[in-house]
C-alpha cells in the first residue's frame, strides 16, 4: 500500500528530530492604534471603510452605496430589515447566485493586514461570501487584534467545518501585473467599524 | 604579522595592476606582505563547474604555499570565499582549517583587521561601486538588499576616505553582473545580458569608473564596455585605495 510505503520511506530517510521553536512571540509596537492601522491596510487593499456609531447608520449607508443593487441579504440577524432581509439557506446555489450585496459579521479583525476571520456559522452558506457581487463586513472594534499570531491565539482550538480570512475584495493582477478588483469573488468590500 | 598575498590566477595573468596595487597598499600600511611564488589558483573554476573532486592537488598546493602565514589576504571576494568554504585536505586537514580561518579578502582585512580609517588616497572621479555577489552575500562586505537589517558597507567605508571620490547611486544596488565563472560561456546569452544591464545602470548614473572587490566581475563588465566603445573604465578597488 502506498501509505505504508511512504511512511516507511520517511521513517528511514527523515533526519534526527529537531525541536519546534520554543516561542512564537515577536516584538510588537504596543502603542499601535489598531483602528487606524486596520483602516489604512484595508483601504490600501481596496476596501471601503466607514467608522460608524451603530447599526442604524449602517443600513442607511448601504442603501445609499448600493442604490441599484436589487438583492441585498444579511447574514447578521441584528441587521435584518425589510429592505435587507435575512439570508435564508436554500438547497440550490442558483437561489443565491443572484445576490448583489451580502452582509456579514466576522469574529476577528486583524490590524496588520485587514484580514477578517469569519466562520461558517456566520456565512449563511459557505458560498455566499464569495458568490455575492459585493460584500459588506460589520466589524466590532473590540474584535481587533494586532497581528496573525494574536488572531490564532483568539481562534484557539475552535471547531468549525469551514472558516476563512477575507482581507478585501477579490482581485487579480495576472494580466501584466495590472491590479483588477473583482476577479471571481466579490467586486467590492465595504467595512463598517463600529463600537468602542 | 606576516601576510601571504594570494593573487587570483586571472588577476595574475590579465590584471596585474590590481595585484600590484594590493601589494603596494598593504606595504604602505606597514604590513609585512609576501607573495608565495609557487601559487596558482584556488580551484574555484573547477569546483563551481561540478569538478570539486579534481581540486585535490590545487588544494594541497594552496596549503603548501600559505600555511605558514599569520593572515592570507586576497584582492578577490569569490576566491577568498571559495577557500573559506571549500579548502580541505586529506593530508593536512588541520592546516586547511587554520587557513580557512585566517584568509581575508582585501576590503575586510583593511576594515576589520587593520581598522584603516585614514587612507591617504586621492581619486577625484565619479565611481560606481559594484557589489560582487560572493564578497557581499558570502563574506558580508556590504549589507544585502534582500535582508531587513541595518545598512553598512565596508567598501564604501574605505572609499569615503578617498579624497574627491563621488560614489554614484544605482537603480539596483546589488544585482549580479552575470559573470559566474564558466556560466559566462555556458549561459552566454543570459550572462552578457546581465552584464549589459549592470553596465547600463552605472553608465546612466554617470559613472566614470566602475569598481569592486572582484576583478572577475569587472573583467566581464569591461568586456561589454569595450564592445560598446564606452569611455567608462573599470578599476579594482585596490587601485583606487592606492591612488595618490
Amino acid at each position: 500500500m502506498s501509505r505504508d510505503k511512504i511512511l516507511a520511506a520517511l521513517q528511514q530517510n527523515q533526519p534526527e528530530l529537531v525541536p519546534l521553536p520554543s516561542t512564537l512571540s515577536f516584538e510588537r509596537d504596543e502603542s499601535l492604534n489598531l483602528v487606524e492601522k486596520f483602516k489604512v491596510m484595508a483601504e490600501g487593499i481596496g476596501s471601503k471603510v466607514y467608522v460608524v456609531a451603530g447599526f442604524e447608520e449602517i443600513a442607511t449607508v448601504i442603501g445609499m452605496d448600493f442604490p441599484n443593487e436589487k438583492r441585498i441579504v444579511s447574514a447578521v440577524p441584528e441587521l435584518a430589515t425589510d429592505a435587507i432581509p435575512a439570508f435564508l439557506l436554500n438547497e440550490s446555489p442558483h437561489t443565491y447566485e443572484s445576490v448583489d450585496v451580502a452582509i456579514f459579521k466576522p469574529r476577528i479583525a486583524v490590524a496588520e493586514n485587514s484580514a477578517l476571520w469569519i466562520t461558517e456559522d456566520r456565512m449563511g452558506v459557505r458560498a455566499l461570501p464569495f458568490i455575492t457581487q459585493h460584500i459588506v463586513m460589520l466589524v466590532d472594534v473590540a474584535t481587533l487584534v494586532p497581528d496573525m499570531h494574536a488572531a490564532y491565539l483568539q481562534i484557539g482550538d475552535a471547531d468549525y467545518g469551514f472558516s476563512t480570512f477575507i482581507a478585501g475584495p477579490s482581485k487579480t493582477a495576472d494580466i501584466e501585473q495590472s491590479l483588477v478588483l473583482g476577479a471571481h469573488g466579490p467586486r467590492s468590500m465595504t467595512i463598517f467599524l463600529y463600537g468602542k | 604579522m606576516r601576510v601571504g598575498l594570494f593573487i587570483p590566477c586571472y588577476v595574475d595573468q590579465f590584471y596585474p595592476n590590481a595585484g600590484i596595487a594590493t601589494y603596494q597598499l598593504l606595504t604602505k600600511l606597514g604590513v609585512d606582505v609576501v607573495y608565495p611564488t609557487g601559487q596558482t589558483c584556488c580551484g574555484q573554476p573547477m569546483a563551481n563547474s561540478g569538478f570539486e573532486h579534481l581540486t585535490t592537488d590545487c588544494n594541497n598546493l594552496f596549503i603548501d604555499n600559505f600555511a605558514e602565514f599569520d593572515y592570507i589576504v586576497s584582492p578577490s571576494g569569490s576566491c577568498t570565499l571559495h577557500i573559506k568554504d571549500h579548502l580541505h585536505s586529506d593530508k593536512a586537514e588541520d592546516k586547511a582549517t587554520s587557513i580557512r580561518h585566517k584568509i581575508y579578502e582585501l576590503v575586510e582585512f583593511l576594515v576589520d583587521i587593520l581598522k584603516v580609517n585614514n587612507l591617504h588616497a586621492k581619486f577625484p572621479h565619479k565611481v560606481g561601486v559594484h557589489q560582487s555577489c560572493h564578497g557581499q552575500r558570502g563574506l558580508f562586505l556590504t549589507q544585502m538588499s534582500e535582508l531587513v537589517a541595518p545598512y553598512y558597507s565596508k567598501p564604501q567605508q574605505l572609499l569615503s576616505q578617498v579624497e574627491g571620490l563621488e560614489i554614484i547611486p544605482l537603480s539596483r544596488e546589488d544585482e549580479c553582473c552575470g559573470f559566474g565563472g564558466t556560466f559566462c560561456v555556458v549561459e552566454e546569452a543570459v550572462s552578457s545580458k546581465m552584464g549589459k544591464d549592470r553596465v547600463k545602470d552605472h553608465v546612466t548614473h554617470g559613472a566614470e569608473y566602475i569598481t569592486g572587490a572582484d576583478m572577475s566581475c569587472l573583467m566581464h563588465m569591461e568586456g561589454i564596455l569595450k564592445r560598446e566603445n564606452s569611455g567608462v573604465k573599470v578599476l579594482h578597488i585596490a587601485e583606487i585605495l592606492n591612488a595618490e
Partner: protein, 462 residues
Amino acid sequence: MAETDDAVKTHPQLSDIFNEDEERVDWHDATLWWIRAKRDKSAHSIPEWEQLRDTASQIKNNVLSNLADYLVSFEKNALANGIIVHWAADAAEHNRIVLGILQENGIQQMVKSKSMLTEECHLNEYLEQHGLDVIDSDLGERIVQLAKEPPSHIVLPCIHKKKEEIGDLFHIHLGVPAGTSDPQVLTETARQHLRETFLTRKAALTGVNFAVAETGEFVVCTNEGNADMGAHLADVHIASMGIEKIIPERKHLGVFLRLLTRSATGQPITTYSSHFKKPRPGQKMHIVIVDNGRTVQMGREDFRASLKCIRCGACMNTCPVYRRSGGHSYHNAISGPIGAILAPNLDMKKYADLPFASTLCGSCSNVCPVKIDIHQQLYKWRQVIVKEGYADNSKKLGMQLMTFTLSSPSVYRTAGKAGRWFLKHVPFAVNNKLNPWYKHREMPEPPAESFGEWYKKNVKNK
C-alpha cells in the same frame, strides 16, 4: 510553446531563444524586479521579518524531522473530520485516484484552482485523455490553458504574456472583440465565463497551501476566490497535496500566512485564506497525499531542505537569471532556483542543466521565507551531476586540462604566458565565433607581464 519530450532543449538553448527579443527580456525582467521591489517594501514594514523567517525555517525543520508522525496525525484528524484520505506514491497514482473519484461519482467535468502539484503530475492531460473536461479557474492558469502552454511561474502563471496576447486568446476562445487588451475588460470576461463553470461543475479540485497535522484541516490561499467558488458549489471537493505541505499546529499558520504573500507579491496577505476542515453537509471532501519523489529527496541530506518550500516564488522574482530567461527555459513544472534543486531529484539526466543555470549569487537564499540554502544546494547538485556522469564530455575534458595546468606552478606560468602571447599576437585565434565570450564582449587586454613576473623583478626575495 508546448512541451515535447523528444525535443527537450536545455536551459542555455531555451535562454538563447528567449534573449533574441531584447525588448521583451527587458519587459519581463522589469516586471519581475518590480515584484521583488514590492516584496522588499512589504518585508521592511515588518521589523521582526528576519526573526519570522528564522521561526518558519525552524518549524519546517521540525516538520521534516517528524513528517511520518505528522502525516499519521493529519490523516487521523482529517478522517475524524469526515474527509476521505488517499495516498499516492507517484504522479501516475495521484492521477488514477483523482480519475477514480470522478468516475465513481459519475462526473465528467471538473473545475480546478491552482495546484503546482497537479502540474507536476500532468493531471489535466491525463484526465483529458480519459474523456474528462478540466477547466482551470485561476485567471493566469486559464490563460495558459487556452494557450496550451504550461505556467511559467508558480505564482504568476502567465507573467510571460503581454495583455495584447491575452486579448488575442480571449478573442479566439471567449469571443471578445479583436484587439481587446484592457485588463479590466479581460478580467470581467473571464469572470462571466467562469461563473457559469463554477455553478455547473459538480467537482472541484484545489491545491493545498498548508495542511495542519493537529486539526486535520487544510488551508487554501487565493486572491481571486476561485478555489472557494469551485469548492463551495461542488458536490465533490478534491484537494491535492505534497507530503511536505504539513505544518504541526494551527497556530503556526500565523507565521506562514504572514510570510507567504509578502514574499510572493509584497501583499500583506492573500484576499482569501480558507481553512477547510469538514465537508459541507452532503458534500464529499477528498484529500490526496502525494509523494512523487519527495521521500527520495528526504533521504538526500544535502538537498532535503528543499522540501521546506512553501511555493512563494520569491526566489524566481529575485533571480537575475530567471528574469532574463523566463520560466519556460527551465522545462519543468517548477522553474527558477527552487525548481533547479527539486528537479534533478526527479530526473537527473533531464534536469542536469538546471543547477548550472545560475551564477550562485545567493540572492534566492536570502529572500526565501523558510531559509532554504538554495544557492549552496545548486553548488552541491553540480558535484552530484558530474559524479553521476551527466556532465558534458567537452566540459570534462576542459576541466581535466584546467586541473593539470593549475596543479603545477610551472605549467600554470607557461600556459599563462602562452595565453597572453596568443591574445597579443594572434588575436583572431581567440576573437572569433568559436569563442562564446567574444559574442558580446571584448577580450581583456593582455598585459606585458603577469603579477608574478612583476613581483620577481621588483620585490627583493623575502
